[in-house]
């Protein structure tokens, strides 16, 4: 790695000729400049994740044949990020879309961009790649200028080549040479004018879909390595269960069984064929005797339990400006139960220990943190563990993926040179994944005589929303070993993003407001990040309460919100959703119909989203049908409009499923929602007749991401529509038929 990095390209001695770039970091892992070495403070602020990984060739490589490879530390989760990032690179680098390929999260090849989470992929990786691509383009133009002895401003990059006066043309392949791109990014970048976009801001078809609909290899579940063995874990029946005894003799004799592993409470079986492993797992499960103990709260009293737990209180907003006197005060409590990620494909990983290096193919959202945890668990040096992201089914946050990776690695560690495929069963995914935490919010606010909010007091009670690896103790397998790793101490995620307190501060203009995050340390039920984290419940609560206030003020819900919103982009999104829905023309609710509206800006710093909904509630059964939904979203510069729409439709439907049906169930000892029979989710019969999404495009503005913007607003729009239809307010999720009927009464 060169240490003489210069920011002035013209002074570099560039070797003529062709040649692909050598990627310095691929051969010497641990040489990342950010990794705790070097004077960080002197580095200028670089956009996105460039700040942590400033070398341009960490992001973009140009081959001898002109093919471009982009590298991202983010992972394709089904949100279309691969295609979007390719669009970004193709656009800025001025290369045909088909000539770019993307390498995603791989601890040996890509930057460490943390987790693919929080809707940060486009914001951080997209920004980094866009910047890097733009700067690479300028470097190539500068190199062409040098060779053509022409001023750079007379040259332009088009379709993978630089064109100059007198029909001069040099392809990128001819321009590139060793180390040309091995420079740090500059703080300023010449970004392409959005009005000239040919590929960004277009609904380019996703590159991954054709394989997925034609039986191509697309998921970690599809991997087949030579000599691969099949493994299954036998998990304990409950969180605190201890394995007293297991007679593995009979299992080892079963056809095809290669090995039975036991390490403390960790129990697994490996076989040649997959169904042999499944049968052996069942037999092993029957052969094991466990000692269980009660550790779970009373499900029927979940909110009271949370409110009664010891809490670490953080006041995250406390402002008192002058305002009119309060004339009406309302208060309400809102709650949601534990929610399951419910990935349709149970987690799976493939691991292979060979030549002292453990390679793990996993659909974890964070290859670097998972690698770190697994290396710690196996007591292996970090550079001997290699995690490669391969798609799984949608995870929607921290599901069983990281644990499945650890299980696979643990098993492969016992079977050197044999690739091991570890597949979780449906019941294991449902019982052992870390759930979205149950939460309670209490809010009190006052209106003045003009119907404006003059004070606001909001408190939210929640566990941490982040127990990802990191430390080995975050892994199930590590917790179950004979010499276990202790689960790490949970810590609140800091504002402005927050965890349980994400979106607990309303965007509305409130003269007097106090917001308190009551961080609950004890986690009787395993929890972690579920799509949108605390924003789901906080927006549900805030936006439900806004409607209750609007009703008390005699105001239209949309007008009421606009009266308290100063941010012009927020106002635009509210107006657009209302318009898209034809809110002003909605009839008076009758015959069980109702209309609801909600708005939020994700984390108060990402995408703006408003949702309007029409429902029909059957008074006799309490069943709610969502007839139509209309949404508006402002996600900054749009990369792929169809991708944004896909994510929004998905967010709304997923939120409807959470809010209409879902609740993790448990008794004193065990999780009892163990499959789709016991944890029902939305099916086609409940899908609305239409969902329309209006995208407010803001070309040239920063990317804001979109994957988690819809959950909160959709949930509140639903609750508001149900209240509008029935005249009664339900504040506890889910709004299932039984609860709505009980609220309506006879």
């Amino acid at each position: 790695m060169s240490t003489n990095v210069s920011h002035k390209i013209s002074r570099r001695a560039v070797l003529r000729g062709t040649g692909a770039l050598v990627l310095s970091f691929s051969l010497s892992p641990g040489a990342w400049p950010y990794a705790g070495s070097g004077p960080q403070s002197a580095r200028p602020k670089l956009p996105g994740n460039l700040g942590r990984n400033p070398l341009l060739d960490a992001w973009i490589r140009v081959d001898a044949d002109g093919h471009v490879t982009a590298f991202t530390g983010k992972a394709e989760l089904g949100q279309g990020i691969k295609t979007a990032l390719l669009q970004v690179v193709a656009e800025e680098l001025e290369v045909p879309f088909e000539q770019v390929s993307l390498v995603t999260a791989d601890t040996s090849r890509t930057a460490d961009e943390g987790y693919t989470a929080g809707s940060h992929s486009v914001q951080d990786s997209g920004t980094a790649l866009r910047t890097a691509a733009a700067q690479v383009r300028e470097i190539l133009i500068a190199e062409a200028a040098r060779r053509l002895r022409a001023p750079a401003d007379q040259l332009r990059a088009v379709a993978g080549a630089v064109l100059g006066p007198n029909e001069a043309r040099i392809t990128y392949a001819e321009l590139v040479s060793a180390n040309l791109l091995h420079v740090e990014a500059q703080p300023t970048t010449k970004l392409k004018d959005p009005t000239l976009f040919k590929v960004m801001d277009r609904s380019v078809q996703r590159i991954d879909i054709p394989a997925k609909v034609t039986g191509g290899e697309a998921y970690v579940q599809d991997m087949r390595l030579p000599g691969m063995l099949h493994a299954r874990v036998v998990r304990p029946p409950s969180y605190r269960a201890k394995l007293l005894q297991v007679d593995v003799g009979n299992i080892e004799k079963m056809t095809g069984v290669v090995q039975v592993l036991r390490d403390g409470n960790f129990l697994a079986v490996v076989a040649y064929r997959e169904f042999q492993a499944v049968k052996a797992m069942r037999a092993l499960s029957l052969a094991a005797r466990w000692e269980e103990s009660e550790s779970l709260p009373k499900q029927a009293r979940l909110s009271e339990t949370l409110l009664g737990m010891p809490a670490q209180d953080q006041v995250i907003l406390d402002k008192h400006d002058a305002a009119g006197g309060p004339s009406k005060t309302l208060e309400a409590t809102y709650a949601r139960p534990y929610l399951s990620h419910g990935s349709v494909g149970p987690s799976c990983a493939v691991a292979h220990l060979t030549d002292g290096v453990m390679t793990i193919w996993t659909h974890t959202q964070g290859v670097y943190p998972d690698r770190q945890a697994i290396a710690e668990m196996l007591r292996m040096p970090l550079d001997r563990v290699h995690c490669i992201h391969v798609e799984g089914s949608g995870c929607y946050g921290h599901n069983g993926a990281d644990d499945a990776a650890a299980d696979a690695a643990l098993i492969a560690n016992a079977l050197p040179d044999r690739p091991v495929r570890l597949q979780w069963m449906r019941e294991q995914e449902h019982s052992w994944e870390p759930f979205g935490p149950a939460m309670v919010a209490k809010v009190r606010a006052s209106l003045d005589s003009a119907g404006r909010i003059v004070d606001w007091d909001y408190g939210v009670w929640s566990n941490t929303h982040a127990t990802r690896p990191g430390p080995a103790g975050a892994l199930l397998a590590a917790q179950h070993l004979e010499r276990p790793f202790a689960p790490p101490e949970p810590k609140p995620l800091p504002q402005p993003e927050g965890g349980g307190d994400r979106n607990s501060i309303p965007l509305y203009t409130l003269p007097s407001a106090k917001v308190t995050h009551h961080f609950l340390h004890d986690m009787p039920v395993r929890v972690s990040a579920l799509r949108s984290l605390g924003a789901h419940l906080n927006v549900f609560a805030i936006e439900s309460f806004m409607d209750e206030l609007a009703l008390a003020a005699g105001s239209d819900p949309v007008a009421f919100r606009l009266a308290h919103l100063d941010d012009p982009r927020a106002r635009d999104v509210v107006t657009a959703a209302a318009d898209e829905f034809r809110w002003a023309a909605r009839p008076t609710p009758a015959g069980g119909h109702g209309y609801g509206f909600a708005f939020a800006r994700y984390k108060n710093l990402a995408a703006y989203c408003a949702v309007a909904m029409q429902v029909r509630v059957d008074r006799e059964t309490g069943r709610t049908r969502v007839l139509r939904a209309a949404a508006a979203i402002d996600t900054g510069q749009v990369i792929n409009p169809d991708g944004v729409r896909n994510q929004m439709e998905g967010a709304i439907i997923q939120s409807l499923s959470w809010c209409l049906f879902e609740t993790v169930s448990f008794d004193a000892t065990r999780i009892t929602s163990v499959d789709w029979a016991t944890y029902p989710i939305l099916r086609f019969s409940s899908v609305p007749e239409s969902i329309t999404v209006r995208i407010i495009d803001r070309p040239g503005t920063p990317f804001l991401g979109c994957a988690e913007a819809g959950q909160g607003p959709a949930s509140a729009a639903l609750a508001n529509a149900v209240a509008n239809a029935t005249g009664k307010r339900v504040r506890d999720l889910p709004l299932n038929a039984a609860r709505v009927k009980a609220t309506i009464g006879v």
Partner: protein
């Protein structure tokens, strides 16, 4: 399902016609009751309405009086009977298509005598032969409940009944022969709880409408009450001393089963019984308790048929069971929805294989958003021969009873009802 429209039946009908047409016409004529002004919601006491809701839950009015994907109580559900298809009526208080202009007297006459406001006889698919037991207070409560529902404008479709069955006055003849009007008569030989259970089960609960066998005129055979019957292609098991349940029912088990829809020793409610138990969730618990007490007493100590001597060798059936069924039905999956051990299931021990065949072919699909057993249907997977092997294996190994008869025709009949 037997086809009742046999030659025998036709001859009998001709007899009846010949004998009593004139007298029947006189007897059959019923006056129209004048249309009433629709009562306002606040003319009813809230407690009365609530009581009516509980009774409606016991009677499960909503299931018959709601079309698939239709408005609750607005009628239009087709009911297949041996005589043709009858559509349930709109019992919302709609003024033109519902019963919004029915007075309490008209409502009570329909419930207790099977005559509508206009004076037409109602087909006994509407079980007024049970509702006739209703006392005044309960009738008034039901009326209060029904009249405070949302009115829905929905025209009831015409019935598909062949001539002469579409002549309603003939129903008067049926009533003459088979309908015993009148309130519930308490049985002094039993206690209050039993009597309350009998009043409810035989009255609003109309359990016998499914669980009692019927004669060729479609009337319940009163001497064989609760000896088992048919409903919508399913067998309603005997709930008297002919019960073939593996584990004996007692009041406590029945109460749990009826109010929750399942019991560890008996399985879940399926087929037409599923909506019944869902509806019972809204009934008064003391009422369900009383019904359980009564029915348990009716069951007494059932005598089971002797088990089969030696289960015949059935490798195919055993292999199919092990490969396709055992994972759920012989494993550690938790109840109530994990898959019942078939020794406990009346599907294996019961009088006919109908329900077992239905479940194997169709599977189990709970209503949207509700927790419930999901079982895949095997209609496309099993050939008739494979299904018969499996059935006889299940019967021999889990039912431990003599083999069923007529399995082939039961399978054929079920297949014709099941579409993919």
């Amino acid at each position: 399902m037997k086809t009742f429209v046999t030659r025998r039946v036709v001859i009998r009908l001709l007899w009846v016609l010949g004998f009593g047409v004139a007298g029947l016409v006189v007897y059959a004529w019923r006056s129209a009751l004048p249309p009433a002004d629709p009562p306002s919601a606040d003319s009813f006491n809230a407690d009365t309405i609530r009581r009516g809701a509980q009774l409606a839950a016991l009677g499960d009015c909503a299931t018959c009086h709601t079309a698939p994907d239709g408005e609750t109580f607005a009628g239009g559900r087709p009911l297949a009977t041996p005589f043709g298809t009858i559509y349930s009526t709109n019992i919302t208080p709609d003024l033109t298509t519902g019963i919004g202009r029915w007075s309490l007297a008209a409502f009570e006459r329909a419930m207790r005598e099977g005559v509508d406001r206009q004076g037409a006889h109602l087909y006994p698919a509407f079980p007024y032969d049970h509702f006739t037991l209703l006392d005044d207070a309960d009738g008034a409560a039901l009326y209060a409940f029904i009249m405070t529902r949302q009115p829905v404008h929905a025209q009831t479709p015409d019935n598909h009944l062949p001539f002469p069955l579409n002549m309603r006055f003939l129903v008067a003849g049926w009533k003459l022969l088979f309908f015993h009007e009148g309130p519930y008569q308490p049985d002094a030989a039993h206690n209050l709880e039993w009597n309350r259970g009998a009043y409810l089960a035989n009255g609003i609960g109309h359990c016998g409408a499914c669980h009692t066998p019927r004669n060729s005129f479609g009337a319940e055979i009163r001497t064989r009450q609760f000896a088992g019957g048919e409903a919508e292609g399913w067998h309603a098991y005997a709930i008297n001393s002919d019960s073939q349940s593996h584990a004996a029912w007692n009041a406590e088990a029945l109460h749990a089963f009826l109010s929750r829809g399942w019991h560890e020793q008996h399985g879940d409610a399926h087929g037409p019984m599923a909506p019944v138990s869902q509806s019972l969730a809204a009934a008064a618990d003391s009422d369900v308790q009383a019904i359980a007490t009564y029915v348990a007493a009716e069951m007494g100590n059932p005598k089971h048929d002797k088990p089969a001597a030696d289960p015949p060798n059935n490798d195919t059936g055993a292999a199919i069971y092990t490969a396709a069924c055992a994972n759920c039905h012989d494993g550690t999956r938790p109840l109530p929805f994990g898959g019942i051990k078939l020794t406990l299931s009346t599907a294996a021990t019961g009088e006919t294989p109908t329900n077992l065949i239905n479940v194997i072919l169709i599977g189990l699909h709970p209503p949207e958003g509700t927790a419930g057993a999901i079982m895949p249907g095997f209609a496309s997977t099993l050939t008739d021969g494979q299904l018969e092997s499996l059935l006889s294996y299940i019967r021999a190994n889990f039912g431990a009873r003599p083999p069923w008869t007529g399995v082939e025709s039961s399978v054929r009949e079920a297949r014709s009802r099941v579409s993919d």
